[in-house]
């Protein structure tokens, strides 16, 4: 039973939203900070921790400054979108649910060759890892599928199942487009048809120039260190808020600083001022923050405290 093909990038996103909403996920909005991947959204990183059940799906704008190609490369972008699904505990039919989402965006299971190819996931900056696959459709990687085993140094109990779709690549495949900038963003038959390039070509150029050549590395470095210090300062606060008398552990504000430090590191990396050996040290510093935030989150109610 073939589903009608989508006509645009946004239609693919809308169909994924409708599909996962119908499967019971809370449709979240993108996190309002610069992140490298959908995993960084606290709805994944923090909510994968602790014993409470959770089901969320969302689009996350993601930034990888080193991948900027001034909008010229057919599929490399410094700013792109990921679609992220996180369900805890991972349901036994997660693979079938996932395959259903591919059908929902117009991939006819009777004509294509879908494969689950080993690909273990690890995020050194988040102190997280899991086992799973990259999912291939006719040899094309269309998603990452991971069972989280550890996040922020904590064992995941229960285990979350995480799905990550690289939206541009997936959409280009479904829509049969060879260059990302040529991809219809909205319906090509509409009054004002827009391509991905109409929306993003210019910003890719602007950011590529800034990322690679202009960003002030002294400022970035200072921001990194300030974020690191602020994260520590937040987590050193008493658990009992002296003003309200309530137990308020500020895991999320601290985690924001961790995200910020991580993004500053990515920008410094793109500016080429971090040597190979320093790289490891910076990653270690961000991971230390992520671990502290995870330690704090599991003491909160959402983190399963008192369950």
């Amino acid at each position: 039973m073939a589903v009608e093909k989508p006509k645009s990038f946004q239609e693919i996103i809308l169909r994924l939203q409708a599909y996962w909403a119908q499967k019971g996920c809370a449709i979240m909005q993108p996190y309002d900070m610069e992140v490298g991947a959908g995993t960084f959204h606290p709805a994944t990183t923090l909510r994968a921790l602790g014993g409470k059940s959770w089901a969320a799906a969302y689009v996350q704008p993601s930034r990888r400054p080193t991948d900027g190609r001034y909008g010229e490369n057919p599929n490399r972008l410094q700013h792109y979108y990921q679609y992220q699904v996180l369900i805890k505990p991972s349901p036994p039919n997660l693979q079938e649910l996932y395959l259903g989402s591919l059908e929902a965006i117009g991939i006819d299971m009777d004509l294509h060759d879908i494969r689950f190819v080993e690909d273990d996931w690890e995020s050194p900056t988040l102190g997280a890892w899991g086992l799973g696959w990259e999912v291939w459709c006719d040899g094309m990687e269309v998603s990452q599928f991971t069972y989280f085993q550890q996040v922020g140094g904590h064992d995941c109990h229960p285990v979350s199942g995480e799905l990550t779709y690289g939206l541009e690549r997936l959409a280009m495949y479904v829509l049969g487009v060879d260059h990302v900038m040529d991809m219809p963003y909205n319906d090509p038959q509409t009054l004002i048809p827009l391509t991905y390039g109409d929306v993003f070509k210019q910003t890719e150029e602007e950011y590529a120039r800034w990322n690679f050549d202009v960003a002030n590395t002294d400022v970035l470095l200072r921001h990194f260190e300030e974020a690191e210090a602020e994260c520590d300062a937040i987590l050193e606060q008493e658990h009992i808020d002296p003003k309200t008398g309530k137990r308020i552990i500020m895991a999320h504000p601290a985690y924001d600083q961790c995200i910020k430090a991580s993004h500053m590191f990515n920008l410094l990396d793109a500016r080429g001022v971090i040597s190979v050996t320093e790289r490891q040290a910076y990653i270690g510093r961000v991971r230390a923050l992520a671990k502290k935030c995870a330690d704090a989150f599991v003491l909160t109610e959402a983190g399963g405290h008192g369950l």
Binding site: P91, D113, I114, R115, V117, W133
Partner: protein, 686 residues
């Protein structure tokens, strides 16, 4: 006797783990069953991406009853002792037997361990096998605590005999064993019941699953060859890839596609690597052009358009991948031809080799200086050696090697050729990494040898200096491999050089003796693999110039050959005897017997013969050693064996006549001195 069928059905098992897992399942299950007394007639194990299967034929219906007889205390033993014995045996007193022994009447207990039904034992062993399965990496899922390579969904565990099929009652973390499984994920997903192995295998085949990985691999290879042959081409053999691909599909469907003309000028290694690494495609070569012109991909299903959509999709992905590769290749070539390879070397100044050993550029400069210094010893032109060393690692900055690190060296050769560098330099770009392993070819071109030696020596002396030596099984910088590489480069090219001098050239102030000791340890391993005993090497190691490894190896081989002869082993005995007698006499007399043996004091014929033999052979042996003709020296030594044997047979060294005694001791000392020209035979065992 019943047959047993087990299937562990899960989400997709990584291809690289499947074969080993099937073997582990078989081994752990059969070991466990046999240990519990449940023997079987035959066992086979299989794997697919979603299942591990074990079939046992002719399993005992129950384990045999075991009887054990235990001797207890005497009948008149204290009550406590008898009670203790009863407790241990789990019996009451009336079940004991009284036997007359020499020391009196003694209790005997016969304990009978009843056999257990096969199902009970199988359930236990399978439970333990699943819970302790040796996956290289395993995981938890959902809310459970069971670990498996990926979520485990169902278990078949059935016993089949003439009366029918029974499910072995078993529950592992909520997964109940049953008699059902599912077919191909997409082509036949509904579950079905099975009654035994044959029924299982044939139903699976109808449900688009080929159970046997070898059958899948054979089918893929056969079909790939047929398709290639039909268009007059050959599939490039790759057994590792074939095994991997067979582990990615349950129902292999081979599809062949064309590589776009735009990419046919890429080096074949680039095409092959890109297709294999990224997409697990086989390369198809046109024998007429020698180029790779097509690819083979293996899908996991049939489709109503006979794979047209799948092939088109794969072709599109390939196009994008190869566009990247072509982009890298053309950019790299432009730089190689326009600016030369040194531009790349210079950018390596920004890449750290090791934080205590400086940048890659600094390392390359050191290697170049060392290669220049070593060049004369290996017969290379020093300028060419330096030039080669300076560009040999340039390709590390190229885009192609950044994308495909395994192409390092090879790309360097292509780019050096493109830059019109001398062919020795281009060869060295690729060859200087060799030999990588014990079976890897050793470069023979002198320039390549110089750069390869310099590269490895720089690594060794550098890590030695910062105290990052290998310990136990830890050798993160592959220093053992580097040392073995140097040993093979020197010996297989018959290069003569003082390693200590070379070490000092590589790193002034290095602890050359310590590092030389490391080389000697590696040399022992290397020669042991060639059948040369460690004591033979020890006997040679104490000789002069032991840092000239080629000389050392030649000496050890000659000695080893000599010791394999009768003359050799006997001469060693004669030497040891002479050495012992002289050493003891020296200790006793407090003097050194080192010279002055005179034939005129010789009393018997055997003594005279020995004098004559030593006089005749000593100069020859000495001359042979000077010219490093170890073989000739050993022949000279062989002539000494009979006179020495005869001497010990017929002569008493400790004569009452002190002049004669001293003369004989000095004569034995001559034997010792002559033998010591060759090696320290006292190190030889036996």
């Amino acid at each position: 006797m019943p047959d047993l069928l087990i299937e562990l059905f899960s989400e997709e098992i990584p291809a690289r783990m499947q074969t080993r897992a099937a073997e582990d399942l078989k081994k752990r299950m059969t070991d466990g069953l046999v240990e519990a007394g449940l023997t079987y007639a035959g066992a086979v194990a299989f794997s697919t991406p979603r299942r591990l299967t074990l079939a046992l034929e002719g399993v005992l219906a129950q384990s045999p009853t075991l009887r054990e007889e235990r001797k207890g205390p005497r009948v008149d033993a204290p009550e406590k002792a008898i009670e203790g014995f009863l407790r241990g045996a789990g019996l009451t007193r009336d079940q004991l037997e009284i036997r007359d022994e020499k020391k009196g009447q003694v209790y005997f207990a016969t304990i009978e361990k009843a056999g257990r039904p096969a199902a009970d034992i199988i359930a236990e062993v399978l439970d333990a096998t699943v819970r302790n399965f040796p996956w290289p990496k395993s995981m938890r899922w959902g809310s459970g605590s069971l670990r498996w390579v990926r979520p485990l969904h169902s278990i078949i565990c059935i016993l089949t005999d003439d009366l029918g099929t029974t499910v072995v009652p078993l529950d592992i973390d909520g997964i109940k064993a049953g008699n059902t499984t599912a077919g191909h994920r997409f082509m036949a997903p509904t579950t079905f019941e099975v009654s035994g192995f044959e029924d299982y295998a044939s139903k699976l085949k109808r449900a688009y699953v080929v159970l046997d990985p070898q059958e899948r691999a054979d089918a893929i290879w056969q079909d790939a060859q047929n398709q290639a042959f039909a268009s007059g081409m050959d599939v490039v053999e790759d057994n590792a890839l074939l095994a991997e691909v067979a582990g990615l599909v349950e129902w292999p469907v081979v599809l062949m596609g064309r590589i776009d003309d735009a990419f046919l000028d890429l080096p074949p290694e680039v095409l092959q690597t890109s297709m294999k690494e990224h997409q697990k495609f086989f390369s198809v070569k046109n024998p007429k052009t020698g180029r790779i012109e097509k690819f083979i991909t293996v899908a996991n299903r049939e489709t109503k358009d006979t794979g047209a959509t799948i092939l088109a999709g794969n072709q599109k992905v390939l196009f994008a991948r190869l566009s990247d590769a072509k982009f890298f290749w053309e950019n790299d070539l432009r730089i190689a031809k326009g600016q030369g390879l040194s531009v790349w070397t210079n950018t390596l100044a920004n890449v750290t080799f090791h934080n205590k050993l400086g940048s890659q550029k600094q390392r390359i400069d050191r290697i170049a200086a060392l290669a220049t210094a070593l060049a004369p010893a290996v017969g290379a032109d020093p300028e060419l050696a330096s030039q080669a060393a300076l560009v040999a690692k340039a390709d590390l900055s190229s885009e192609m090697v950044y994308e495909f690190p395994e192409l390092q060296g090879l790309m360097g050769r292509y780019y050096a050729q493109a830059a019109d560098l001398p062919h020795e330099v281009a060869t060295a770009c690729e060859a200087h990494y060799s030999p990588l392993g014990p079976s890897d070819d050793v470069p023979t071109d002198p320039v390549s040898v110089a750069v390869a030696l310099a590269d490895k020596l720089d690594t060794l002396t550098g890590f030695w200096a910062i105290d990052e030596k290998p310990t136990g099984s830890k050798d993160p910088f592959a220093l053992r491999r580097a040392a073995l590489g140097i040993i093979r480069l020197l010996s297989e090219n018959s290069v003569r050089m003082s390693l200590k001098t070379a070490i000092a050239q590589a790193y002034p102030g290095a602890d050359a003796d310590d590092l030389l000791g490391f080389f000697h340890d590696r040399l022992k391993v290397y020669l042991r693999d060639q059948g040369i005993r460690h004591d033979v090497i020890d006997a040679c190691l104490v000789m002069e110039n032991n840092d000239d490894l080629t000389l050392l190896i030649t000496r050890a081989k000659a000695l080893s050959d000599f010791l394999a002869t009768d003359d050799g082993t006997n001469l060693v005995q004669g030497y040891k005897r002479a050495n012992n007698i002289v050493t003891q006499a020296e200790q006793k007399d407090g003097v050194e017997y080192s010279f002055g043996a005179d034939a005129k004091f010789a009393e018997s014929d055997v003594e005279k013969t020995l004098f004559a033999a030593l006089d005749a052979q000593a100069p020859k042996i000495e001359a042979s050693m000077k010219s490093e003709d170890f073989g000739a020296a050993m022949i000279g030594m062989a002539y000494l064996r009979a006179p020495i044997d005869a001497f010990f047979e017929g002569v008493q060294v400790n004569s009452d006549n002190q002049v004669v005694r001293r003369n004989r001791l000095n004569l034995l000392s001559r034997i010792r001195q002559i033998c010591l020209l060759v090696a320290d035979l006292s190190k030889i065992e036996g």
